[in-house]
Amino acid sequence: MSGRAPGGLVVGVDIGNSTTEACLGLVDPDGQVTYLGTALTRTTGVKGTPDNTDGALTAIRDALARAGRDSAEVRTVLLNEATPVISGLAMETITETIITESTMIGHNPTTPGGEGLGVGTTCSVGDLAEQPPGQPVVCVVPPGWDFDDTAAAVNAAVAAGVDVVAAVLAGDDAVLVTNRLTRPVPVVDEVAAVEKVPLGMLAAVEVAGPGRTIRTLSNSYGLATVFGLDPAQTRQVSPVARALTGNRSAVVVRTPSGDVTDRRIPVGELVLHGAGKTLRVDVDAGAEAIMDAVGRAQPLEDARGEPGTHVGGMLAQVRDTMADVMDSPGLPAVPVAEIAIRDVLAVDTFVPAEVRGGLAGEVALENAVALAAMVSTSRSRMQVVADRVSEGLGAAAAIGGVEGEMAVSGALTTPGVDRPVAVLDLGGGSTDAALLTRDGRATAVHVAGAGELVTKLVHSELALGDREVAESVKRCPLAQVESFFHVRHEDGTVQFFETPLPPEVYARVVVLTPEGPAPVGTRHRLDHVRRVRREAKRRVFVVNALRALRQVAPGGNLRELDFVVLLGGSALDFEIPDMIADALAPHGIVCGTGNVLGTEGPRNAVATGLVRAHAAAAVPAAREPVP
């Protein structure tokens, strides 16, 4: 760095995972910096690879253009030393619910008919007329039967003395049929596979009133009473009762060997190397067990998953992708063996899944584990990028500093911040932390899991079927459209509109995107969607903030930290910064979203830090020039 004439324009360029930022400063001979402008553009290619050149040049030219300066005036361009970080996501479902021999129909049709409990022998609607009088009968109606015809058949049988106590229908006809019965009975409908309901068996049908849930069939002793079970049999049917809890309607058919099981699916092992140990943990043991093992293997040196499982495939793919992006012509290839998984984050989640063996598309919430993994390599291609930037711009370009250190330096330009300071960079694939101690030493870590994992959790837990919707649920606040002229926001406030809202959002839960309200394709109510969203953010960002800060905090003690500055795209989120601040408050930490240079918000920290570092180096005596 010596021998360079002081003064002139300096551009700091931060190549991040998704954005490339530039900071243009005029550095005086005495090390004073005048900031002239900043710019932000998309990162081209994977961070840390030669493809970054185009994006870097765009950002530099933008910054120059905004300041009305010419590239000929640029003395030097400074790039951050950034190691490529690639992250991957996988999810394994670890439980499944199986119904054998059709004993239970626990699904929740939106509109069952009648109310109460009916217990009798199953009988097809077509055979009702032949039933002996006085025997309680549960009428089973196959698809294709019109509601008027069904009601007429039941009424005729009842008139003839057949004791019809309940009905199970294929179509969505329960209310229609009930409304037409001379003697109303509980009716459960929308049982798509009604033909699989065994006939001639004892069955119970229960429907609760609107807004209520069933009481008898969801109670093991209720089942025992209805079917006359002994204690051993009661024990056996208790999963049935559990599965029906919370439903408004249910059908249980007693068959000789019917059963409901809730079984764990073995999904293979995760093998963790670190701290001189090799630990093995079953993925189906859940997030807590996995994170416990990860904690014991710190610092993690590598992780592998069982081939043939989602986790194994994901870890292998992350490794291969890294090998591919490091592969550039004219440079020696990076052996895959040198690419190691440096962090894993496991999160417990659930996946709504159709119950195997169900008759009506019953859905159970199955447990699942989501995993994020991160790979980094010590080799970076940033020098190549610097050479190409230099060539493209016609000015000198060099590596000006390491990313984490530069980020802290840039964060220090936030008004009200002082050393020791830690920064948390909340990105898409990884959460990064760095610490600058009072005496100027810096440390930095990357941990796996960030915005993309949140999107995945929201997507699967709400069964949205569209990742783009999940993305907007993550990013934007929710509201309920209550009429064409008003919405109720998730905090309960009401907003009115002059012009009517578009028809596709009518009566729906919507996300308030910058382009306007967009419908969320879900039957869930707003409260549930909100809870899922916040819980996903908590499990990823709050957990990772604590994990990452503990890794940089002296002695792993969060109380040693005074200031935490949040940076990166997710620091612009409408609730994540508050959630992290709340979690850090008990540790006596001042935490907030950065405002680099007092103007840039949580953006441009690294680029600014690069310019500051250069200015400081130009005048070795000067200490941390204040902007």
């Binding site: 998309r42 569209d466 783009e468």
Partner: protein, 570 residues
């Protein structure tokens, strides 16, 4: 195919022959009786007006039996802009039979006819073509087509909006001979990626092919202005005031839009067609052809260079009434005889019967039009996002054979498998490299391989739609233009494709493609009604399928060699 079963025969016993006939696909088509009072009639209606015109002080004050005070806005626009006032009274006074004869008389040149037609009123034009049978209509078309050399246009779309498919099918289509390629979307937000794919694929197949992407006006115009597409044609006009208003436009708004396109150097034509007004229930009791003639003259008056007509999306209506396809042939002729470029329909699913499908195209294919189809499906019809065309990829060999049988030029040719595979593969690779350069969602080698050998969208790996849509948005946000595409193609090492695209973009600066019936030859020579005017003057004149082009069209997939009958040539 159809949602309902074929018609039920009555309970009474029918013959085996009737059973066979009932099972014929043609009986799945719908046919209706005429109802002239409501405009459900092709071209022969007692309720159409009688021709008349009166000029006072250089202004038309009476048009087809109506005084100026009673003009609706179509009458007004046509009287003010479409009809040559100086010759109107003289031309309209010429007996219709004389004008009809002029149309088929080889001794009268195209210009001789234009000297008369420029002064005709809508009812007079109708009166003339009503005298002509379908063979005479075809004779008239042969002479009146604006460009001497006929051409064809293709649809290149994907049921999954897969840009790789669009690029590969565009390349194949261009190679097979289409002069224009048109696309549209299932998911509209995919448009930027698909429009880029169409443009790039087209230039791989054959330099100078022109492309368009049918969208709502603002986006379509923006893609054009950025040089991602080269022309536009889905600007609809209608024959009655009420239907025009239902479409939220007027002749003046459309005329303004026409100039807007020209002001950005973008070729443009209007769209209209018989049946649209009665379909919308507001034919005002006029025949389909009379109303279409009003559309044609409105387009003429707006100063647009051409028109896509031939019933287009309403083809089921004229197709169901007596003489309907004669009217459709006549509307193409009228567009040509008032000196407009005519892209002559044959672009929508028309019949269950292959025989009817073929017959429907004869009046355009045999005499030749500026674009025989305004959308031959260069993808299998299930992938056709214009709701299916009259011809698709499965008809390629039939089309080529018919061209060879009758020695007519329908704009296509047989291409050998190796060449097609090469073009498809290259189109996919070029798009792969371009997307990579522009940092758009990656195209894998598997997708390139799939594109090379695919038939339909089902043959391609599924794309990450979310990533694609973000990429598409990025194209708009980052302001990517045709110039960026050229730069990217050049940087990716596809100099020839980059050069082809640059040549197409240069045409916007010259404005040569704005002239009537303009297309670009493979040598980037603009070919229009000005430098390639139709000079038909009877047998032995005009465009003749001969020489090199005829040799090209003699080739088919399987032709037994005369030299060695044990082998095939081709």
């Amino acid at each position: 195919m159809t949602s309902t079963a074929p018609r039920q025969s009555s309970a009474a016993r029918v013959s085996r022959r009737t059973e066979v006939l009932e099972a014929r696909p043609v009986n799945l088509d719908g046919f209706v009786e005429e109802w002239p009072e409501k405009g459900l009639v092709a071209m022969e209606s007692d309720f159409d007006p009688t021709p008349s015109v009166r000029v006072e002080d250089g202004r038309i004050v009476e048009l087809d039996g109506k005084e100026r005070a009673d003009f609706d806005f179509m009458d007004t626009f046509i009287a003010n802009h479409a009809i040559d006032v100086a010759s109107a009274e003289r031309c309209t006074a010429i007996p219709s039979v004389e004008i009809a004869r002029l149309l088929i008389d080889p001794r009268a040149t195209r210009d001789d006819v234009l000297a008369v037609t420029r002064g005709l009123t809508p009812a007079k034009v109708l009166d003339v073509v009503k005298l002509m049978n379908v063979v005479e209509i075809m004779q008239g078309m042969q002479k009146m087509r604006a460009r001497r050399t006929p051409a064809n246009q293709a649809h290149s779309t994907s049921a999954r909006d897969n840009p790789i498919q669009v690029a590969a099918d565009a390349a194949e289509g261009a190679l097979r001979g289409f002069a224009e390629l048109e696309t549209t979307l299932g998911v509209v937000r995919y448009a930027p990626l698909v429009a880029i794919a169409l443009q790039v694929g087209g230039q791989v197949g054959r330099g100078g092919v022109l492309t368009q992407c049918a969208l709502e006006e603002a986006t379509e115009l923006e893609l054009g202005m950025r040089g991602i597409t080269a022309y536009a044609e889905t600007i609809s006009v209608y024959g009655t005031e009420s239907v025009f208003i239902d479409g939220d436009d007027t002749p003046w708004s459309k005329a303004f839009l026409a100039s807007a396109y020209a002001s950005r150097g973008i070729k443009m034509r209007f769209t209209s067609g018989t049946g649209s007004e009665v379909q919308m229930g507001n034919a005002e009791g006029k025949s389909m052809l009379y109303l279409e003639i009003r559309c044609i003259l409105m387009a003429k008056g707006a100063g647009v260079q051409g028109l896509q007509n031939g019933s287009i999306s309403c083809i089921g209506v004229p197709g169901a009434v007596p003489g309907g396809l004669r009217a459709v042939a006549a509307e193409n002729l009228v567009a040509s005889m008032v000196d407009l470029e005519c892209a002559s329909g044959n672009d929508q699913s028309f019949s269950h019967s292959s025989m009817r499908r073929t017959a429907r195209a004869i009046p355009q294919l045999f005499p030749g039009t500026d674009f025989v189809c305004s959308g031959y499906s260069a993808v299998p019809n299930p992938d056709n996002m214009f709701a299916g065309s009259n011809f698709d990829t499965e008809d390629y060999d039939d089309w080529n054979t018919i061209q060879r049988d009758f020695q007519v030029d329908g704009g296509l040719r047989h291409v050998r498998e190796a060449e097609i595979l090469q073009a498809r593969n290259k189109a996919a690779r070029v798009l792969q490299a371009l997307f990579r350069h522009l940092d758009l969602p990656a195209i894998t080698d598997d997708e390139v391989e799939a594109a090379t050998y695919a038939h339909s969208s089902n043959d391609y790996p599924l794309r990450d739609v979310l990533a694609d849509l973000k990429g598409a948005q990025a194209v708009m946000d980052r302001g990517i233009t045709g110039l960026d595409l050229v730069r990217g193609l050049e940087a990716a090492g596809f100099h020839d494709v980059a050069e082809n695209l640059l040549m197409v973009l240069r045409q916007r600066v010259s404005g040569d493609l704005l002239q009537t019936s303009a297309i670009l030859t493979p040598d980037f020579v603009p070919l229009s009604a000005i430098n390639d005017p139709n000079d038909y003057a009877g047998p032995g004149t005009g465009y003749r399928l001969e020489g090199e082009r005829w040799e090209e069209l003699k080739k088919l997939r399987h032709v037994t060699s005369a030299t060695n009958p044990e082998t095939e040539v081709g």
